[in-house]
Amino acid sequence: MADKVREQQVYNQLKSRHIGLGDETTTKHEWMTNVHRDSYASAVGHPSMLTYLSIAHDTPKAVLRTQLIEKMANPCGSKSNETHNE
């Protein structure tokens, strides 16, 4: 039993260090949130992609960058919403 607790602790520690780590208890919401955050971060980080989006949205790059990072805060709504939907 103690082993399992320890394992869990190690896992939690790893999870807090390596964001996006999943296991069998990862919910769809958690996973989706992660994917969205990764995608937004990638769009902000690649200069070519940010330009592409900024032309498509007709928004200055600096403004779009802020908007995308803001979207990362809660890309899929709160967890409570998810349970409603299901």
Binding site: G20, S48, I55, V63
Partner: protein
């Protein structure tokens, strides 16, 4: 399986930049501006006397730059450049101006490579250079302590200042003088957001680096308005109160650690935000220059009584960043369109609006013409390059492109080659054969006479303030002059086919005639030497003595072959003569002879050529004595001459055109350049590396250099009945660029006959007709407001036997509208259920792709008539298509490229081949019936080919085949895959120069123009691959990025050799070169020759 190997060369570097910064990187008092595009650094310096921006050099990084910042340790004079990139390292570079490169001082690894959420990327540097903070978008934040010791800069291991579940929008270092370094960060805490639906909150958090304890602590955190987006540090220490400006929507507030709060509202529209700002220190005060999302600049002052004042400054292009130079210039690194350099006329301050309370009042202001700034220089930028088109009508090397957005939009014409600035182009009385310039005295600085020879006479003009004909120069005007040479102190030699005249003080003082019936066939001369080739195959050699007498060498050398060309070269400084004479003979050889007094006219070596040398030229280039050879078959050859042994080595050659090559020399930027004349005119130079580029001038019959007071480095040439005097523009440009302002964001270019149809879709949609011959827009039609053009194409309807322009538009309804090509009048519109993103011509009908449907239309009287409709269930949204025969390549927003083929029996398209990879396609083009090249949104370029086992000969059978893995029955073979670090927007299959092979030219969003050259021989492929591998292994790239991983960012590189990397070989230091040489087991010369052969063969 058949393979294809491509060789990638960037022709025009990416012009969009990520950021710019300012510093004394060279260690002198002069300030340098460094701009970083996503894969290159460009260094500029401002010449404050002329107010021009000089590009010092560019430096390829082979990694994606995310942020740059200058760092200078207090007390030192040199700035270093901190770079964060996709290498997962924090890189500190030092600039080496002499060798035009950056060298990495440190590459501190901190995370995985790639661009990730947790990769620290935003750099901010303590103003005293003591610490650097690098923060990621989420959570991670590292602080490096910088110091100096005897050896130079030192850097500590990173200190962590992570905050879990926090996003960072902006991080700055505060100016705190010599107290412990402090940083401020604008953060979003998302930990509560996931649990319940509450509004997002933003915080301003202060961090302090305790230099004594070597530890970073979070000092303080306070809530700021939720629209906050940017922090700007306030000067501190002895210059100001320190602290930070928090910019949010319509409002700027000042905050510091002591709890002071001040706010002021930003004049203007309701959704105004500050996108960038800098502070600038004057002697006893400082101010901020801030730019809003509308491009307006505001001057903000923090007054001594702790109140803020704001005033409208000027409106310029929206910038990624800008810097203010000490010499009173502002460099604006524009987000779209050309980068601009402004000079400050005054510092504004009129119409100041002041605020001392927390409830600011909004005001308005009027935008005016530039009042405080004046534009002094621009740097051309192609970014964003939305679409391009290569026209077959003009010479084959002309590329039209649509650049910029909204009011910075331009139509550009890019011509491959070096441009000239024409000074005069007068008419001549007859067709000229040659032209020469000469001075009359050895000590003259400038040329005095311009001599033009015709078939039966000679014309002499004086060069001065005006160019006038003279008859009393002493030059015999009744013969065709073959050569003119200023000889000895003050004589001129006129060489014609029947002899030589020696002219002194405007009279002929001496003659030399060949034996009776013998003519001159070739000649070469220097100030003290003259060599003539005679039609009896004899070579005559003269020297000119101190008294300007022509002294004939006592014997003729019989060459036993017709002499076609010869060259003596230049007289080295301090010597009396050039010691080598190269003679070209009709038996396709060249012979190197000595002109040394001890061994006059002794043969040193002989070299066979592929054709008769029609022209020879010895000149110094890049500190090597080169023999340039022009052959009768139109090939130009350059070899390096070893004076002692007469050996010719390092051969590079290029086919120039179908006329015998004539070579002449001129000077540019104090360097020798060779002008090679064939069917077109070329320039050969070694400014950065060895290059043969087309010179954008008429095909000259002859040319020579031109030195006058007004034009110290000019070129004069003759063609037909014209004389042209011009100067050569910058040799660092690959393209000559002309631009034309257009109303709004361009969408695409189409061509019919001599007209280019420009589709604009920004603030309003337009169709414009541009005449390629007059370079004017002849007609412009605006489509109704509220409708936007999505795409368009030219379609030849077989049923009407006429060509029309079809536009897909969206607005209240999605329409396909047909326009007449002549007057651009609307013929009719047809409603379609969804937005149509791509149109094409398919077997005399219109093919349209929308959603996952492909539909064929024929032209009707009132509307388009639907002829066939196919639902392609495996696709999500069709965005691009290209037609070849009965096959259509479809680019999907998610499912890469799918090939469908048309079945007449079923009157529908049948799935044929699709890709196994998912991609967001941005452009595609058929290379041949079985091969497609495509580009995706993530910056990859790839080539797909139909597998050999697949066939669509029997479409009926094909349609019965089972679908495999929810897709087409067959899967593409991926032939090539390569990461460009820029989004490919258009592909063209073309040959860029006459005689060049077909290559793929691509243009990308951020302004890259590149070429993919197919390699033909297996030995080339093996050789270049081995060199590329050796370079990858032995070359430490500046940011520590692995080249193989960089070019395989999303998918492993396949069968594409990176020419940009290989061409660095010549610029490497000898240690690195030796490594490559030892790993490949090839000679240095062979590597450098074969690498250039690829470029010279096609470009």
């Amino acid at each position: 399986m058949s393979e294809l190997t491509l060789y990638n060369i960037t022709l025009e570097r990416q012009s969009a930049s990520v950021q710019c910064c300012l510093g004394n990187f060279s260690g002198t008092k002069k300030q340098e501006i460094i701009t970083a595009s996503s894969n290159e650094l460009v260094v500029y310096r401002v010449d404050s006397s002329s107010g021009s921006l000089q590009q010092l050099f560019t430096f390829k990084l082979f990694s994606t730059v995310r942020s740059i910042a200058p760092v200078r340790i207090a007390g030192t004079t040199t700035h270093y450049l901190c770079v964060s990139s996709d290498s997962g390292n924090l890189t500190v570079l030092s600039m080496d101006l002499q060798n035009k490169r950056f060298t990495a001082l440190f590459n501190e690894p901190h995370s995985k490579s790639g661009i990730r959420r947790l990769t620290p990327s935003e750099i901010t540097v303590d103003p005293k250079g003591r610490a650097v903070m690098v923060s990621a978008i989420e959570k991670n934040r590292l602080v490096y302590v910088m110091n100096r010791d005897d050896t130079g800069l030192t850097i500590s291991s990173p200190l962590e200042a992570h905050r879990s579940r926090h996003l960072s929008l902006s991080t700055v270092a505060l100016d705190v003088g010599y107290e412990n370094p402090q940083f401020a960060s604008l953060e979003i805490d998302y930990s509560d957001l996931e649990l319940s639906d509450i509004d997002m909150k933003k915080q301003l958090t202060f961090y302090e680096l305790d230099l004594g304890l070597n530890h970073v602590v979070k000092k303080h955190s306070e809530q700021v308005p939720e629209t906050s987006n940017l922090l700007i540090p306030v000067p501190g220490g002895s210059d100001g109160p320190s602290g930070v400006l928090v910019c949010s929507s319509n409002k700027i507030s000042y905050r510091n650690l002591y709890g002071d709060k001040l706010s002021i509202s930003i004049p203007g529209e309701d959704d105004t935000v500050i996108t960038y700002g800098v502070s600038h220190k004057l002697k006893n005060e400082f101010f901020f220059l801030l730019q809003t999302n509308y491009g307006d600049l505001f001057k903000l002052e923090l007054l001594k009584d702790m109140s803020l004042s704001i005033s409208y400054f000027d409106t310029i292009q929206l910038c990624t960043s800008f810097v203010i130079l000490k010499s009173g210039f502002l460099y604006a690194d524009a987000e779209t369109g050309d980068k601009q350099l402004f000079q400050f006329e005054k510092l504004g301050g009129d119409m100041t609006y002041k605020s001392t309370n927390d409830n600011p009042v909004r005001t308005w202001f009027a935008r005016t013409e530039l009042q405080n700034l004046s534009l002094v220089d621009v740097v051309e930028s192609l970014a964003p390059m939305i679409s391009s088109h290569i026209t077959p009508n003009k010479s084959s090397n002309c590329l039209f492109s649509l650049n910029g957005v909204k009011d910075s939009s331009t139509l550009r014409m890019l011509q491959y080659g070096v441009s000239i600035s024409e000074i005069v182009e007068p008419d001549l009385p007859a067709t000229a054969t040659r032209c020469f310039t000469t001075k009359t005295d050895k000590s003259d600085e400038f040329d005095k006479y311009l001599i033009i020879s015709f078939e039966d006479r000679t014309l002499v003009l004086t060069i001065g303030e005006s160019v006038e004909e003279v008859t009393d120069s002493g030059i015999d005007l009744s013969v065709e002059t073959l050569g003119i040479q200023q000889a000895g102190q003050s004589s001129i030699l006129q060489i014609h086919k029947d002899g030589v005249n020696v002219i002194k003080n405007n009279t002929i003082v001496n003659h030399w005639y060949p034996p009776a019936g013998i003519k001159l066939t070739a000649l070469s001369s220097t100030n003290t030497q003259l060599a003539l080739g005679l039609s009896n195959e004899d070579l005559v050699y003269f020297e000119i003595d101190q008294d300007d007498n022509l002294i004939e060498w006592n014997e003729h050398k019989h060459m036993s072959c017709k002499i076609t060309s010869m060259s003596l070269g230049e007289i080295p400084d301090g010597l009396r003569r050039s010691s080598t004479l190269v003679v070209g003979c009709a038996d396709s050889t060249i012979r190197v002879l000595s002109t040394d007094p001890k061994s006059t006219l002794e043969s040193i070596s002989l070299q066979a050529l592929s054709s008769v040398p029609s022209s020879l030229l010895i000149c110094n280039m890049n500190n090597q004595l080169c023999v340039h050879i022009g052959l009768e078959n139109g090939v130009y050859v350059r070899t390096v001459l070893d004076v002692k042994s007469g050996d010719l080595s390092s051969t590079k050659q290029k086919y120039l055109g179908n006329r015998p090559v004539i070579l002449t020399k001129t000077r540019l930027n104090k360097e020798n350049v060779v002008i090679a004349l064939s069917a077109t005119t070329w320039i050969v130079h070694e400014m950065e590396s060895f290059k043969v580029q087309p010179l954008l001038i008429e095909p000259l019959a002859y040319s020579t250099s031109f030195h006058s007071e007004d034009c110290p480095e000019g070129l004069v040439g003759v063609y037909k009945r014209k004389l042209v005097i011009c100067t050569i523009d910058s040799l660092t440009q690959t393209f000559k660029k002309d631009s034309l302002q257009i109303q709004t964001t361009g969408k695409l270019l189409l061509e019919d006959d001599k007209y280019l149809y420009i589709i604009l879709s920004g603030e309003g949609s337009y169709i414009q007709k541009f005449n390629e011959n007059t370079n004017e827009i002849e007609k412009s039609v605006e489509i109704p407001k509220g409708t936007k053009i999505v795409t368009a194409n030219m379609v030849h309807f077989q049923s009407k036997n006429a060509k029309y322009l079809v536009c897909s538009s969206t607005g209240e309804e999605n329409l396909l509208s047909v326009y007449d090509l002549n007057d651009l009048s609307l013929i009719h519109s047809t409603k379609i259920p969804e937005q149509c993103h791509c149109l094409g011509e398919f077997q005399g009908k219109l093919i349209a792709g929308y959603g996952c449907y492909l539909r064929l239309f024929d032209m009707g009287v009132k509307q388009l008539l639907s002829k066939s409709n196919t639902h392609l269930k495996t696709l999500s949204s069709i965005v691009r298509l290209d037609v070849q025969g009965s096959r259509v390549a479809i680019g999907d927003i998610r499912d890469s490229i799918t090939l469908v083929t048309f079945s007449h029996e079923m009157n529908a398209f049948v799935l044929f081949v699709d890709d196994i990879v998912t991609r967001h396609v941005t452009s595609l083009k058929f290379l041949d019936y079985n091969t497609v090249v495509g580009g995706d949104k993530f910056g990859n370029v790839f080539v797909l080919r139909v597998p050999e086992s697949a066939s669509d000969d029997d479409v009926g059978y094909l349609s019965t085949k089972p679908l495999s893995t929810n897709g087409a029955p067959f899967k593409f073979n991926t032939l090539c895959q390569f990461y460009l670090d820029d989004i490919p927007m258009s592909f063209h299959k073309t040959n860029f120069t006459p005689g060049g092979r077909d290559i793929i030219v691509y243009t990308c969003l951020l302004g890259t123009v590149g070429a993919l050259i197919p390699l033909i021989t297996m030995s080339d492929i093996k050789f270049l691959k081995s060199v590329e591998k050796a370079m990858r292994d032995s070359l430490e790239l500046p940011t520590g990025r692995m080249h193989l991983k960089y070019r395989g960012y999303y998918a492993p590189v396949k069968n594409v050799i990176d020419g940009d990397l290989l061409e660095l070989f010549d610029t490497l230091d000898s240690n690195s070169q030796d490594l490559v040489i030892s790993e490949t087991g090839r000679k240095k010369e062979e590597i450098s020759r074969r690498v250039y052969d690829v470029r010279l063969g096609s470009l």
